[in-house]
């Protein structure tokens, strides 16, 4: 590739132009995956619902006093999905619960991916005993049943959203770390890294300016996949009673349902909506993640 000197164009502008072009290319290729588009559209819908929730239903939907319906009432006029154990509008609760479930899932995934990326890049870059120790730890985590660890963590910490985020984030970073480290090693083997060093590029420079941009697409694919399992994990922890009881979330709704005996009473309308919401969002993230992976690694296209 010839690097002609275009007069008057700053190098930074050039870099951003190129990045925009490759992002456009990425989007074009992503568009070819129908499943990925479906997932993206669904997620957009849910995000919209979650953001618009204060307008649509308002926080008083969670108010136990002054509830519109009687406990465990079935679907009917004014209550399209029936009422929960306290008589609150279930549809409103599901929409309101989207905020927490999505937020916790996203935060946990971001935490997980951040830890994983930092550890992966530094382990790949610095190497030595530091990397060896970290990789042993990573391998250990990969064998551990992460949910068990998350449950144990959530048990000993206080019942709050932060606990859930931390519990999930701290137990799921190893997958990302492994992939990022492999990619870092691949990137650092390229000749221009050597040149960057010769020109005086320090550790920070190489890691942030060279390795990180090359690692970002991989991280993006991982993030979407991890959000999917984070949302399921959040629902699981809430269902097990380890979540914040004052907050409405989909997992919490299912726990309420079970405790209130909706199962033995056959109140399927209480059980179905929160679970469908969880499943649909988790599935959408999975589909997006798979589509991103296919775009990044065309060879995977065959086995998708």
């Amino acid at each position: 590739m010839t690097a002609g000197r275009t007069p008057g164009v700053r190098p930074r502008a050039l870099v951003w132009r190129r990045r925009r072009a490759s992002a456009a290319r990425f989007w074009r290729r992503y568009r070819a995956h129908r499943a990925g588009l479906l997932g993206l559209a669904t997620l957009a819908l849910f995000a919209l619902l979650a953001l618009a929730a204060p307008l649509l239903v308002g926080s008083d939907v969670a108010d136990v006093t002054d509830a519109p319906g009687s406990p465990l009432e079935g679907p009917g006029a004014g209550l399209p999905l029936g009422a929960d154990r306290f008589g609150r509008n279930l549809l409103g609760l599901v929409i309101w619960g989207a905020r927490v479930s999505l937020l916790v899932g996203l935060l946990a995934a971001v935490l997980s991916v951040t830890i994983g990326t930092v550890i992966g890049v530094t382990a790949g870059h610095f190497g030595g005993w530091y990397a060896t120790v970290l990789m042993r730890i990573t391998d250990w985590f990969l064998v551990m049943p992460t949910l068990v660890l998350a449950i144990a963590l959530a048990t000993v910490m206080s019942r709050s959203l932060l606990t859930i985020v931390v519990a999930i984030g701290v137990t799921t970073w190893p997958t990302t770390a492994r992939l990022v480290r492999a990619q870092t090693l691949a990137v650092e083997a390229r000749p221009y890294i050597e040149r960057a060093r010769a020109l005086g590029g320090g550790h920070w420079h190489i890691m942030s300016r060279h390795v990180l941009p090359n690692v970002t697409p991989l991280v993006l694919a991982q993030t979407t996949l991890i959000v999917s399992s984070a949302i399921l994990a959040e629902a699981t922890l809430a269902f097990l009673g380890l979540g914040d009881p004052t907050v409405v979330s989909w997992g919490g709704l299912l726990q309420d349902a079970r405790e209130a005996g909706a199962v033995s009473a056959g109140h399927w309308w209480y059980l179905v909506p929160p679970g469908v919401a969880i499943a649909v969002v988790a599935l959408s993230f999975t589909l997006c993640g798979r589509a991103v992976e296919s775009v990044l690694d065309p060879r995977l296209g065959v086995s998708r």
């Binding site: 042993r136 250990w140 990969l142 064998v143 551990m144 049943p145 992460t146 949910l147 068990v148 660890l149 449950i151 144990a152 963590l153 048990t155 000993v156 910490m157 999917s228 399921l232 629902a235 699981t236 269902f239 097990l240 009673g241 380890l242 997992g251 299912l254 349902a257 079970r258 199962v263 033995s264 009473a265 056959g266 109140h267 399927w268 059980l271 179905v272 929160p274 679970g275 969880i278 499943a279 988790a282 599935l283 999975t286 589909l287 065959v302 086995s303």
Partner: protein
């Protein structure tokens, strides 16, 4: 890599390299187990404040009882001594006393273990076989409708929360909605009072829904992994050689592609056991199955710290051991590894 076959592995027979492989894996497992022990120790010392108060919080407990618990936890001892005590006890099989059951943790565990093994073992066999069969079929029919349906269904079921699926199955098939009758028990392992064959049938009856739930959420992973491995394998050159020799296509796939594709598949199945453990915990909770998962749930709500800690150790150790087992067996099937 290997220029000429060395005398150490002539003809691919197991020789001196394999014991070294075994030793390496066993040592690795030992380190992992030690790490689990350490994690377990510090995990339950992370509690801000007094763990005993945390455990008994809100319940009327006499000062004498509190003192007993503290002594049992060894909280009055220096930390390092607590750790050595804890390790020593764990290695000799003493995992403390359960707070809510007032019985040794180990006893509660051994009581619940067979039930979990029954559920997990049955489900594991079914979802593995099902996943491999469907994954193989899907790969053969790659790109066609059958493949896409299979893959789509697997993805959907994989995204379901296992506990939710269990609840739905209970509502529809146990309690029965509308005209549907309740076909299966709503929970537990047995309906009591039966002996011998009738007992076995009763247990089997109770086993159906939990197993179906577990299989439904886990088979998808096996299917996807098998399918992916097979599709990767199907692009290999040695399959062209096999076809050139005059083998029928289905023989080429069965005899050459499939065995090679199953090698990474089996490995991945074992690595995913962690997820299976999570599924087991949830399914046992939802179906009130008297296994380790159900015990775990009961312990969480108290929280019964000794029991939680003990179960944590058991779960983690089980997965590590299964993975080590897989590592040890793998070279017997793949001559390129560990010999």
């Amino acid at each position: 890599m290997t220029a000429d076959a060395t005398s150490a592995s002539v003809g691919g027979r197991l020789t001196t390299a394999y014991p070294r492989h075994v030793a390496g894996k066993v040592a690795g497992a030992a380190v992992s187990l030690l790490a689990v022990l350490v994690t377990g120790f510090f995990l339950f010392r992370m509690i801000p404040g007094d763990p005993v108060r945390f455990m008994t919080g809100g319940r009327p407990v006499s000062a004498g009882q509190l003192a007993t618990y503290r002594a049992e936890f060894g909280l009055d001892l220096p930390l390092w001594q607590q750790f050595t005590d804890y390790c020593g006890k764990a290695l000799t099989g003493d995992l403390g006393t359960s707070y809510q059951f007032n019985a040794p943790v180990v006893d509660k565990i051994t009581e619940a273990l067979p039930n979990t093994l029954l559920l997990t073992g049955t489900a594991f066999v079914i979802y593995t076989v099902l996943g491999i069969l469907l994954g193989t079929r899907s790969a053969w029919r790659h790109g066609r409708l059958g493949d896409r349906l299979n893959t789509g269904l697997a993805l959907v079921l994989y995204s379901l929360p296992s506990f939710w699926l269990g609840l739905l199955l209970i509502v529809t098939l146990s309690v029965g909605i509308g005209p549907l009758p309740g076909l299966f028990p709503t929970g537990g392992m047995e309906s009591g009072g039966k002996e011998g064959l009738a007992y076995a049938v009763d247990v089997a009856h109770h086993l159906v829904l939990p197993v179906v739930t577990l299989v439904a959420v886990e088979y998808g992973q096996t299917l996807l992994v098998t399918r992916s491995a097979l599709l990767d394998e199907m692009g290999s050159d040695y399959l062209t050689t096999a076809r050139a020799k005059g083998l029928r296509d289905d023989l080429v796939r069965r005899r050459h592609a499939l065995p090679n594709a199953l090698l990474p598949t089996v490995t991945l199945i074992f690595i995913n056991l962690g997820r299976t453990v999570a599924g087991v915990i949830l399914v046992e909770t939802v179906f009130s199955w008297p296994g380790l998962g159900g015990l775990f749930y009961q312990a969480l709500s108290v929280p019964d710290l000794p029991l939680v800690q003990g179960l944590f150790l058991v779960f983690a150790a089980a997965v590590i051991l299964m993975n080590t087992l897989a590592d040890l067996i793998y070279p017997l099937f793949d001559p390129r590894v560990g010999r």
